[in-house]
């Protein structure tokens, strides 16, 4: 396979955004007739690389060669015309139009401006036949399942004479049989010589369909591997950025003293709690003074699980018990009334209100719980805000500054302060340390440990395994939207052990 010249070759690609180097000297090769997986954690640079390739972004260095000739695309349209087609995660089609219209929209066969409908339908049928699909091409797209819609998007992409087909998270909204159908189509295209770039965070799927893979981490190229040569375990280690020895080294470091724990009373218990498409039904207990860590890759259902404990999404199976009493969480407000707080992973869209001040953002949840008729006296507000601005070291320490002017880390601290002043019994914190600097990260970890020492139960979600290991008393491991194992974080549990479970198959 290695003997054929690559259809696409990117060398030394560099892309800098203000304040951050998104891609640093990245090489990427795509061979004709292969499925190539682009792997990496969130923020590793996968989507930036794809956007550079498809002309959404320009480059700050490096060269792209397509079929041997150097190219530089100024827009996605140019990339498409050169034979690079992209199917995005969200299906970008018009569900109210017919299948044929969707395939040919903007490129309809015409005579004197009039569309030749019969030819359009005939060509749509032919095209779908290449994917082994038989559809009524006059029916509205909305009558077909998401998987079929995805295939129609692919049909549209390959009709533009694609040499390279980019599939960005195509399986995230598909069920198992739909995935199998999609993979069959991918193999068919591969056999026809199309080079497919595949991005997915489902490791099992990558191993099922990909021939080779390229791993990125923090905007750097980690390596290019044949799928058969790289065991799943080692792939995870390379994505997370700890080789196995380093992980074992980390284990020998002393852990938080809070780990020897006398279990407090049971606060929350999930009984068969689950949500279709989010997280399979699971059981879990959280006690006072306990930090429960959720570990798993992005998309493994961590966030979905956390949201069910707060009523941010409604569970469609099972129920929650708070203090031993069953509780239906219709809205976050119900959860708050029972002393539960939730800091979302999307701090910009679901956390802070950007145009409100630091002070207003901090008192928001407490004020909402009190209702509008009982405003918190300004003096009390200032006391609370001052206390937490100091305690969490929020910078700049100006309570009247709009939150949007603060850095991500400080916004995160504002969000934490919002929940801390409500004195929750169970605090759910989703990815509090993502994208923030080391100092703020350490402070947030310290706060979590202190909260637990003070008797608060904490449900802690993080993509960083060391963080989960360091803080948690109990670790819930998730894979493919399923709770696969619960581990007491005793001394014999290490990153290696957790990673085995995350990678799957090799547990024990």
């Amino acid at each position: 396979m290695g003997s054929r010249p690559p259809v696409l070759e990117m060398t030394g690609i560099r892309k800098v955004f203000p304040g951050v180097t998104a891609l640093d000297d990245v090489d990427f090769r795509l061979l004709p007739g292969e499925v190539h997986a682009l792997m990496g954690e969130n923020g590793a640079g996968k989507s930036t690389l794809i956007k550079v390739l498809t002309g959404v972004y320009g480059t700050d260095g490096g060269e792209i060669r397509l079929g041997g000739a150097a190219v530089l695309f100024g827009s996605p349209l140019q990339a498409q015309q050169a034979g690079i087609s992209t199917v995005y995660q969200e299906v970008n089609l018009c569900t109210n139009l017919s299948v044929a219209e969707n395939i040919f929209i903007g490129r309809e066969p015409r005579t004197l401006g009039r569309i030749r409908w019969a030819e359009m339908r005939r060509r749509a049928v032919e095209l779908l036949a290449r994917l082994d699909l038989t559809l009524d091409v006059s029916a509205p797209l909305s009558t077909y399942s998401l998987a079929i819609q995805q295939m129609v998007a692919i049909a549209r992409a390959i009709d533009i004479d694609a040499k390279v087909l980019i599939l960005d998270e195509p399986t995230s909204s598909l069920d198992a049989s739909e995935v199998a159908q999609l993979f069959a189509v991918m193999r068919r295209l591969k056999d026809a010589g199309v080079a497919i770039l595949f991005v997915s965070h489902f490791l099992d799927q990558v191993y099922e369909v990909a021939d080779r893979m390229t791993v990125l981490r923090n905007g750097r190229l980690i390596g290019e591997y044949r799928t058969a040569d790289l065991p799943q375990m080692q792939l995870v280690a390379r994505m997370i950025g700890k080789d196995l020895e380093a992980l074992e080294e980390l284990e020998s470091q002393p852990r938080s003293s809070a780990r020897e724990l006398e279990r407090g009373p049971l606060i929350a218990k999930a009984v068969g709690l689950g949500r279709t498409g989010g997280i399979a039904p699971f059981d879990m207990e959280i006690h006072a003074g306990e930090v429960v860590g959720l570990a798993g890759l992005l998309g493994s259902g961590r966030t979905e699980m956390a949201r069910l404990f707060f009523g941010a999404d409604r569970a469609d199976t099972g129920h929650l018990e708070i203090d031993g009493k069953p509780l239906v969480l219709r809205s976050p407000r119900t959860a708050m009334a029972h002393g539960i707080g939730f800091s979302s992973e999307n701090r910009r869209t679901e956390g802070v209100v950007a145009e409100l001040s630091v002070r207003e953002n901090i008192i928001l949840a407490l004020q909402a719980a009190r209702g509008w008729t009982r405003p918190i006296a300004r003096r009390r507000q200032d006391e609370l805000v001052d206390k937490y601005v100091k305690a969490l070291n929020i910078r700049p320490a100006d309570p009247d500054m709009p939150v949007r002017n603060l850095s991500g880390g400080n916004q995160q601290k504002v969000l934490l302060a919002r929940w801390l002043i409500t004195e929750p019994r169970l605090l759910i914190i989703d990815e509090p340390t993502r994208g923030i600097d080391v100092g703020a990260k350490a402070e947030i970890q310290r706060i979590v440990a202190e909260l637990a020492d003070g008797g608060t139960a904490v449900l802690f979600v993080s993509a960083e395994l060391d963080e989960v290991l360091r803080l948690s008393h109990k670790i819930e491991v998730l894979r493919d939207r399923r709770l696969v194992e619960e581990l007491d974080n005793t001394d014999d549990v290490d990153a290696d052990r957790v990673m085995r479970t995350i990678a799957g198959g090799v547990a024990q």
Partner: protein, 336 residues
């Protein structure tokens, strides 16, 4: 120069410029005289004419702050005025103060119900605000016609006339009513937590939900408040002309009200709002109307003249535009 940075600086400056321009056309423009213990003069007149727009504007401000819009205010004005005039016309003695007060109360109560209707459509059923209130905007004129039986109802009630055309403590009653409602709105939003919660919902509905704010109840409240304001404005309008005209009352006032809100610095996308800004905007629009008359713009072109002034106003208020014209980097725009 810090006052230049104040967000109401530019609308205030334009208001002053408009007022000043009048002096060239009518020399007595700024003079205020006292007749029979009442203040008279163009400025007082502008305030008096602004009263309905101020009322409708402050209601609109709160609705827009939640990310909504209320197109039905003009129809609510017509309905409220029509009901009051109908009830007054049925009185044995149209000069009975109690009877007039009850008629006004009935008009306001009906407005409240209409506000609940709007709020329920938006918050409970989830219809987009522009569509939900469009229903009442169109249907409301029909309801008003139904109340007046398709006629223009004339009343001859001295107590009713006081609301729109009377004076007390030297000032027009309508101005005092508007001032009173502004005061109530300010107290409701800034002395309680209502303003903060409204701004949070308008600023980020998702974040607000996750902070435990019950947006539904808040949304219904602002539509009810808007309808009550419009209902009172309708009473002032119909009292001023001593009749209920279902077609003319509050015709196109929703557009002026939205404009007043925008001039006052509240963004149509919701979030931070300014009641003072809206009052300023309403007075500015009324001043513009008076100015078009006083500088002798032909009737056929008044709308065009207004449009041009509004465009200039919006451009001047835009930090990005000022920066472009002045050819220097915009510090205001960079931080926004």
């Amino acid at each position: 120069m810090s006052f230049v940075r104040h967000r109401l600086f530019w609308p205030a400056a334009i208001l002053v410029a408009l007022l000043a321009s009048n002096i060239f056309f009518s020399s007595g423009f700024f003079s205020i005289t006292v007749h029979d213990g009442h203040l008279y003069g163009s400025i007082i007149d502008i305030l008096r004419r602004s009263a309905p727009l101020i009322l409708v504007g402050i209601g609109m401000t709160l609705v827009i702050a939640t990310g909504g819009i209320d197109l039905s205010v003009g129809s609510v004005m017509a309905i409220s005025g029509a009901l009051a005039c109908l009830l007054i016309g049925d009185l044995d003695n149209q000069n009975s103060v109690t009877g007039v007060l009850l008629a006004c109360a009935a008009g306001i109560a009906l407005s409240l119900v209409l506000g609940i209707w709007n709020g329920a459509l938006v918050a409970s059923i989830g219809i987009q605000p522009i569509i939900a209130t469009l229903i009442l905007m169109v249907a409301g004129r029909g309801i008003a016609q139904l109340i007046t039986d398709g006629q223009i109802l004339n009343v001859t009630s001295a107590p009713y006339k006081v609301i729109g055309a009377g004076y007390t403590i030297a000032l027009p009653v309508s101005v005092l009513i508007a001032a009173g409602m502004v005061a109530i709105a300010v107290v409701l939003t800034r002395r309680t937590a209502l303003g903060l919660l409204i701004e949070a919902v308008g600023g980020s509905p998702t974040a607000s939900r996750l902070a435990g704010i019950q947006a539904r109840r808040l949304t219904i409240m602002v539509y009810v408040f808007s309808a009550i304001c419009a209902g009172i404005a309708g009473l002032i309008y119909s009292s001023n002309v001593s009749s209920a005209d279902s077609n003319a009352a509050g015709n196109l006032i929703e557009l002026d009200a939205i404009l007043a809100v925008v001039i006052g610095g509240t963004r149509l996308t919701g979030g931070r709002f300014s009641l003072a800004g809206t009052v300023l905007g309403a007075v500015l629009i009324e001043t513009l109307n008076v100015t078009t008359v006083s500088i002798g713009i032909p009737v056929e072109t008044t709308l065009l003249f207004k449009a041009i002034v509004v465009i200039v106003l919006c451009l001047v208020q835009s930090a990005a535009f000022r920066a472009k014209v002045l050819r220097r980097p915009s510090r205001v725009g960079a931080s926004a």
